[in-house]
């Protein structure tokens, strides 16, 4: 402690050398600070819990139900919820709870697979476009602008109809092909701002190659907004898949997905509302969780919003 020549009995000053809370000499970075922030955020905790639940449900549906969703008996056709069938049964007499649980797999995997590959395309082309600039940037940006003008749902309807077969991978492929433009623009603008910073010049002056500068300096500093947006995109894609299935251009029976269940339910909404209600709730809660997570991440990763 510094010895200041102030009479000590006058005041007892607060000790000035208290370390800032939560630091305690541990290294802090953008991500560890964000984690620190997130852990105390209700919106993050809630959305993380829901997402975790849905992911576990998608991977291990057996944990939640021992009933085979494809083992149906027509005797039980369209029963309302009961102690035996918690969510009731559908037209074929299948246990609706089991089908809703198994539906998570399709919905969550489509959301994750599509977002992963769309982000991969967006990050690769976006950072190339932003970092290299010039001719390459012009070509990539103009193509993106054209792609950007095509609504995802419309592209899904047109191309899935044209493709004929509507399996899991076909739906994924169409959504990937039309799902990347927004994220590419985000990545490009983020790279454009990072590229101007001194440490990029410094890295080059110290002999780093273009590849190294992009992977070690540009990407780690510029990818944050894309991660946030990708989280939200997972929810959006799940909703889009449900919409396409509802419009009969997405997955087809006997696939099990929430959108498909809602689609089948549409003729009996008034007579048997539970057919719409349960997959609808699962769908909206999952989409909501991903969007909430995206918001929580954005707040935590943007120091300006703290």
């Amino acid at each position: 402690m510094t010895d200041l020549s102030i009479p000590t009995e006058v005041v007892t000053p607060e000790p000035l050398t208290v370390p800032p809370p939560g630091k305690q000499g541990k290294p802090s970075s953008l991500w560890s600070d964000a984690w620190h922030e997130l852990r105390r955020k209700p919106s993050f905790i809630i959305s993380a819990a829901i997402i975790l639940l849905m992911v576990v449900m998608a991977i291990f549906p057996q944990l939640f139900t021992s009933v085979n969703p494809r083992e149906c008996s027509l005797i039980n056709s369209i029963q309302p919820p009961s102690s035996e069938h918690w969510f009731g049964t559908d037209l074929q007499g299948c246990d609706y709870y089991a089908r809703t649980i198994y539906g998570a797999r399709t919905s969550v995997s489509i959301g994750v697979v599509v977002t992963f590959f769309a982000t991969l395309v967006a990050v690769t082309l976006g950072s190339l476009s932003g970092y290299k600039g010039g001719y390459l940037d012009t070509v990539i940006s103009r193509i993106t602008d054209i792609w950007f003008a095509i609504p995802l749902i419309l592209a899904g309807i047109v191309f899935l109809n044209a493709l004929g077969s509507k399996g899991f991978w076909n739906v994924c492929a169409v959504l990937i092909v039309f799902g990347w433009p927004t994220m590419l623009r985000l990545m490009r603008s983020s790279v454009l701002s990072v590229r101007e910073l001194d440490y990029i010049d410094a890295a080059r002056a110290l002999g780093a190659s273009d590849w190294r500068i992009i992977t070690r300096h540009v990407l780690p500093n510029g990818i944050t907004p894309v991660i946030v947006y990708a989280t939200i995109t997972v929810g959006v894609i799940i909703a889009v898949e449900a919409t396409l299935s509802f419009l009969n251009v997405g997955l087809q029976l006997p696939a099990i997905s929430w959108g498909l269940m809602i689609s089948v339910a549409q003729n009996r909404i008034l007579a048997s509302p539970h057919l719409l209600f349960f997959p609808g709730i699962f769908l909206s809660v999952t989409v909501f969780a991903f969007i909430l997570m995206g918001d929580a991440l954005r707040d935590a990763l943007d120091p300006k919003l703290r």
Binding site: S28, Y199, R204, A205, L206, G207
Partner: protein
């Protein structure tokens, strides 16, 4: 396959000990922008030898950083273009080299320190990671070896408790410590030439002195050539051997530090001297140079300094004086350098 000369033979420090280490010859750099073409370096020439400190002095916007960026190959292109001249490192023109060969020199043989170490260090990696990366990439060392060397370097640049701080992030250091980290990275591979672009401008005065002392120490230990870019003539007086004064993208005068201070050969240098606070200054006002430096888009005709010059003649308004040797080892770009120097 591209032919890359092995570093060992091409840059053997003992092979070319007598020659000039780095020489910039008639360098011309243009920035082509919508508003017009800016000549940011106009026939700039200077050289630095082993163990020598060359200071490049000038006001903001005088083009002093541009030549350093050209040496390092970090001019943003477009809009920047090197339109002429040579940059010879141990006699080989850097501008004619293949990118691959040049990258082996960057950071390794010629290195650079930036003005603001806060923005020149990557915020998402620890300083240890960033220093050890130099060893891993250029010397093929393992990660643990690299970290060990990083700690040694941090000790060398006098960062207290280096062993603990090696895992800290740039924002956890003070400005002066960050600049030391930057210096550690720049000297990691024992470069022959170190360019320091206003290394102390972002720091407060006491820290400035420490950083300059550190650079001077390191230079003595390693015998590297140092190019110090600054607008602070006080800093220059303490450490430099030679000074090149830049004005409006041109070298106005180059001289040995003592001679320059005693007897400037260019009216601009004289103006700079007059505007300095000196210990022997007894009261009264300082006399700054009248007017302000020209916009590089609209450089005055003839001698670029003529609108502000106290000694202006008709010829100055029409003819741009070339940089010429006035006496042995001293150059000046003034029509009347000889007359002026006898005043």
């Amino acid at each position: 396959m591209t032919k890359v000369t092995p570093l060992d033979t091409a840059f053997d420090p003992h092979a070319a000990d007598t020659g000039v280490l780095l020489e910039v010859r008639d360098l011309e750099v243009e920035f082509r922008m919508r508003a017009g073409t800016v000549k940011a370096a106009n026939k700039v020439s200077y050289q630095v030898d082993k163990g020598e400190t060359l200071a490049i002095v000038g006001e903001s916007g005088s083009g002093k950083t541009v030549s350093a960026q050209a040496i390092m190959g970090i001019i943003d292109s477009p809009p920047g273009f090197i339109t002429g001249g040579e940059i010879l490192f141990r006699g080989k023109d850097l501008l004619k080299m293949e990118e691959k060969e040049r990258r082996q020199i960057r950071g390794d043989r010629v290195s650079m320190i930036f003005q603001d170490a806060l923005t020149a260090l990557n915020p998402v990696f620890t300083v240890g990671w960033q220093i050890s990366e130099m060893f891993q990439k250029h010397r093929g060392m393992s990660k643990s070896e690299g970290y060990k060397r990083a700690v040694e370097l941090m000790n060398l640049v006098k960062i207290p408790s280096a062993a603990e701080r090696v895992n800290a992030y740039p924002h956890e250091f003070s400005g002066g410590m960050r600049q030391r980290v930057m210096i550690a990275m720049a000297i990691a591979l024992d470069p022959d030439v170190l360019i320091a672009d206003e290394p102390t401008t972002a720091l407060d005065v006491t820290v400035q002195a420490q950083i300059m002392d550190l650079l001077a120490d390191l230079q003595q230990q390693t015998g590297m050539g140092l190019i110090l870019i600054t607008h602070d003539l006080g800093v220059v007086a303490e450490v430099a051997d030679k000074v090149s004064v830049m004005y409006a993208a041109e070298i106005a005068e180059t001289a040995d530090i003592r001679e320059l201070y005693q007897h400037p050969y260019h009216p601009y240098t004289e103006g700079l001297m007059r505007s300095l606070v000196r210990p022997d200054h007894k009261g009264g006002r300082l006399s700054p140079i009248k007017g302000s430096p020209p916009d590089l888009l609209h450089i005055p005709s003839g001698c670029p300094f003529h609108p502000r010059c106290d000694y202006v003649q008709d010829i100055c308004r029409t003819d741009d004086p070339p940089l010429r040797e006035i006496v042995e080892g001293r150059t000046s770009a003034c029509h009347f350098a000889e007359v002026f120097s006898n005043d």
